[in-house]
């Protein structure tokens, strides 16, 4: 017997929806084994990870807060991936956006600057993210450099730049030498939605981004161009769609969204610029994009799910002493299964006996 992959005639819609669920199921099974190996009760551990955070209001808000950057970044990435452009450096674009926006916050600190500050910060963050993403995109278009490598390498440049700024020029003089800027002024802070809560305006912006992406992909000619270039490059050229232009466009948009997410995170939940503002949002968003089928609504759901793993991971560390890195392991395994299950969409498994069975007509 032999297992072969056979191409499907038409893409199966059912499988497209079921595949991520299968991936999640397989991940949970694998995690249970891992918990058992770590000497924890798998059932309790999974409960702490995935059920407990859903049972109290504070955690629910926290999930939305964590999902906000994930969803915004993943939406941008999905545009790139649909167009066959591989932006792996959203983490760097996120950081650069945070830095650029913070620059305005730092410069206006303690002045009479009015309500223009926050909008200006958001614009600066988005613009910086877009420009930063255009570097690998231009290298790809002009010189044929692999955008996968260049975008990834620029993550570390952004990381070190941020580190330098908060340890040097922007360090809070009253901050006991901690590498951080001073707490941003109220006009430089993203407002919360519920008084005393954690949920902030950024979550609304993320929802708007999801809706906009849906309209873009489903209803506009630009979205159509992005989709065709990815699945049938030659037909796209025949259609008059310029692949290079679309690489630049999708990189710029995804960079802008990552940068925007970055400045929202800093000006919102964190409140100042410091190293470690991202637990790897830019990378986790890659998983979100694929788990969400590169579909805006799917990404919204996947973003909430992965935010849950961050919160669950924190609680598991506190209550069960499970290392925080297990969350990363979980996310890695999930990406692996998602990509594996994706094959099921274009192909199907078939059991084939090595030699064809010739059944004698029994009569």
């Amino acid at each position: 017997m032999q297992l072969v992959l056979e191409k499907r005639a038409e893409r199966s819609r059912t499988i497209a929806l079921v595949s991520p669920l299968i991936a999640i199921g397989l991940t949970l099974v694998t995690m249970s084994v891992l918990f058992a190996v770590l000497g924890k009760n798998p059932i309790t551990a999974l409960g702490v990870y995935f059920i407990a955070p859903l049972t109290d209001g504070y955690s629910l808000q926290e999930i939305a807060v964590k999902a906000t950057p994930l969803v915004m970044i993943a939406i941008g990435l999905s545009l790139c991936y649909l167009a066959n452009a591989w932006n792996i450096g959203a983490e760097g674009q996120f950081l650069i956006g945070a830095v650029a926006g913070s620059w305005i916050a730092v410069k206006t600190q303690g002045t009479e600057a009015g309500h223009w500050v926050l909008p200006a910060m958001l614009v600066a963050g988005a613009a910086a993210g877009a420009l930063y993403a255009l570097i690998p995109a231009l290298c790809r278009v002009k010189f044929g450099a692999s955008e996968i490598l260049t975008s990834l390498m620029l993550v570390y440049v952004a990381d070190l730049l941020l580190d330098y700024l908060v340890r040097g020029p922007w360090r809070d003089p009253a901050g006991f030498n901690f590498p951080t800027t001073a707490e941003f002024d109220p006009v430089a802070t993203v407002p919360v939605l519920i008084e005393g809560g954690r949920l902030h305006l950024g979550s609304i912006i993320a929802l708007v981004v999801v809706a906009a992406a849906f309209v873009l992909l489903d209803r506009t000619i630009k979205g159509f161009e992005i989709r065709v270039v990815g699945v049938a490059p030659r037909a796209a050229r025949f259609g008059g769609f310029n692949a290079n232009q679309l690489i630049l466009l999708t990189f710029a948009v995804s960079g802008a969204l990552a940068g925007l997410a970055g400045i929202i995170e800093v000006a919102g939940p964190i409140g100042h610029l410091q190293p470690g503002i991202s637990p790897g949002y830019g990378f986790t968003a890659i998983i979100v994009a694929f788990l969400g089928r590169l579909n805006p609504v799917g990404i919204l759901i996947a973003g909430l799910f992965l935010a849950l793993t961050f919160i669950g991971g924190e609680q598991a560390q506190i209550t069960m002493k499970i290392p925080l890195d297990v969350t990363k392991v979980f996310q890695g395994i999930l990406l692996f299964y998602v990509l594996a299950c994706d094959s099921l969409i274009l192909y199907r498994f078939k059991l084939v006996s090595a030699a064809p069975q010739v059944q004698r007509a029994a009569r």
């Binding site: 893409r11 065709v228 699945v231 025949f238 008059g240 059944q359 004698r360």
Partner: protein
């Protein structure tokens, strides 16, 4: 047993038999309880209109499609094929209507991927060259597929199938894209395979060919078998009648078409190839008036693809005045801008070039329709308008499909061709550039398409048709030029364009004479 044993058709048993074979796609019956028998040492034709279910039937025999009901028998014994690998191991080979080749791999690598055994690559390469030479199908094993013409690609598929030494070979419309010479070469190969005792199942829309070559013909209509006959005892008309159920209309070129101003002018077009083995276009000049159809004949791979790329704007030329559409120099303008000027284009390859295979027909209507018309308003897609184009094309060109708006790849080859051509004609272009307009289209639909091209010209459009089918060009074109080694010959008026003259030009015969003229002048 592995060697195809000689046998006489009368006494032998069928090599392959289908009994009540049925294939359903949803509510749609692509094959409806089909019984056929195929004997060794026989060339068996499978005939039918576009969408009659021919490809579906042979894909089932090759194990690619699972039947919904009925059974297959191989040498009398029922078999269940769970995939093509099993079919191949029985000795069934197949050459597809749409090729399954990897563009970025070489000929030899593609062949190696398609073989099941553990033969080393070097040996495969050598054997490939041997088989190709032996059967007179020249192929360079080290060339990459993306550089090859459709005719050459098909050769790969045929040689790949032959390398498996099949007892039963299926060919799905092999001659659709071949020149008469290439087709003749193929018939020699097929006759030889038959003499070697193999069975051949042969799908074609070219009935003359079938009468010449085939011993038996099975005719499908609407998924059902309607007859089995000896094609040599039938006429092309009687075969067509069985396929369609009614008589086929003749294409009537209007007695006289009035030509107007030049609408497509090409001035001394020279273009270096964009790829290693491409053909460079040399001094191509012609003028095409409104109301006129210019035919371009020639063996595939003589620069037709390059000319198409330059005319369509897929490749730009530096000097704008090299290509003039309706009086406007547009060599530097993109394909979208040229479409806005009223030009329309139909490439040779319908899957992957003319359409995105995995997208719906409405989306593929948008692919070329977005430039002009009402499909896009302020950047937003008007879904109703794209569907209208699908419906209109379906109706006008009789595109048969299982549902209203399926993926392009699920259409039968000929029906997709009708869609791709119809989509452009219905835009009412001023200039239409079309490559192989009736590739793989059945006689009835071919007549509809040719008539539409003639009507388009009669309405004042300039139509440029590139085709390997000389009969087609002689039937519809007012003038015919021949492409050879990137050079376009002087266009002959239809009255002068005999098969013989064109054949000579296609072999490059007059090139030297012309050169001598040029020096003498």
């Amino acid at each position: 047993m592995l060697d195809p044993a000689p046998a006489t058709p009368q006494t032998s048993h069928p090599l392959l038999q289908t009994v009540g074979l049925t294939k359903r796609y949803g509510d749609f019956l692509a094959n409806d309880s089909i019984d056929i028998e195929i004997f060794p040492r026989e060339i068996h034709a499978l005939l039918g209109e576009n969408g009659a279910g021919k490809s579906t039937l042979v894909k089932t025999i090759y194990g690619l499609v699972q039947p919904s009901a009925g059974e297959l028998r191989w040498q009398g014994a029922p078999i269940k094929l769970s995939g093509p690998a099993e079919a191949r191991s029985l000795g069934i080979g197949m050459v597809f209507q749409h090729f399954s080749l990897f563009d970025n791999l070489t000929v030899a690598e593609n062949v190696a991927l398609g073989l099941d055994g553990k033969e080393p690559f070097k040996a495969i390469s050598a054997r490939l060259a041997d088989v190709a030479r032996d059967y007179g199908l020249p192929l360079d094993p080290s060339r990459e597929v993306w550089q090859l013409s459709v005719g050459e690609r098909q050769r790969i598929e045929i040689v790949r199938a032959l390398m498996q030494n099949p007892k039963f070979l299926i060919l799905d419309e092999p001659t659709a894209v071949l020149t008469p010479q290439e087709a003749d070469q193929l018939f020699v190969v097929l006759e030889r395979l038959k003499a070697e005792g193999r069975a051949i199942l042969y799908i074609s829309h070219k009935l003359d060919e079938v009468k010449r070559l085939c011993d038996t013909a099975t005719i499908l209509r609407g998924g059902k078998k309607v007859a089995t006959c000896n094609p040599k005892r039938e006429t092309a008309a009687s075969l067509a009648r069985m396929m369609v159920g009614t008589e086929i209309k003749e294409v009537k070129p209007p007695a006289e078409r009035r030509t107007t101003v030049p609408r497509l002018v090409v001035n001394d077009l020279n273009l270096a190839p964009s790829e290693l083995h491409g053909i460079s276009l040399r001094n191509i000049s012609f003028e095409l008036k409104g109301g006129e159809i210019l035919g371009i004949a020639g063996v595939a791979g003589n620069g037709q693809d390059e000319l198409f790329a330059a005319l369509s704007g897929e490749r730009l030329v530096k000097e704008p005045g090299t290509i003039i559409i309706d009086g406007l120099a547009c060599g530097h303008l993109s394909i979208t801008q040229r479409r806005k000027m009223g030009a329309a284009f139909v490439p040779e390859e319908r899957l992957g070039h003319g359409t995105a295979p995995r997208m719906r027909l409405s989306e593929n209507a948008l692919l070329t329709g977005h430039a002009a018309g009402d499909m896009v308003r302020h950047g937003f897609i008007n879904a109703a308008a794209t569907l209208r184009t699908v419906d209109l094309t379906t109706e006008t060109f009789d595109v048969r499909k299982a549902k209203r708006d399926p993926e392009a790849a699920s259409l039968s080859g000929g029906n997709l061709q009708k869609f791709v051509v119809g989509r452009e004609i219905l835009r009412g272009p001023a200039v239409l550039v079309v490559n192989q307009p009736t590739w793989g289209v059945d006689a009835g639909a071919a007549a509809i398409i040719r008539q539409a091209l003639i009507d388009l010209a009669s309405a004042g459009a300039a139509v440029l048709v590139t085709s390997q089918d000389l009969d087609e060009l002689i039937e519809i074109a007012d003038r015919i030029a021949v492409m050879f080694h990137g050079h376009l010959s002087e266009a002959l008026p239809r009255a002068d364009a005999t098969r013989e003259k064109l054949g000579l030009l296609m072999g490059g015969a007059t090139l030297e004479k012309e050169a001598a003229h040029a020096i003498g002048a």
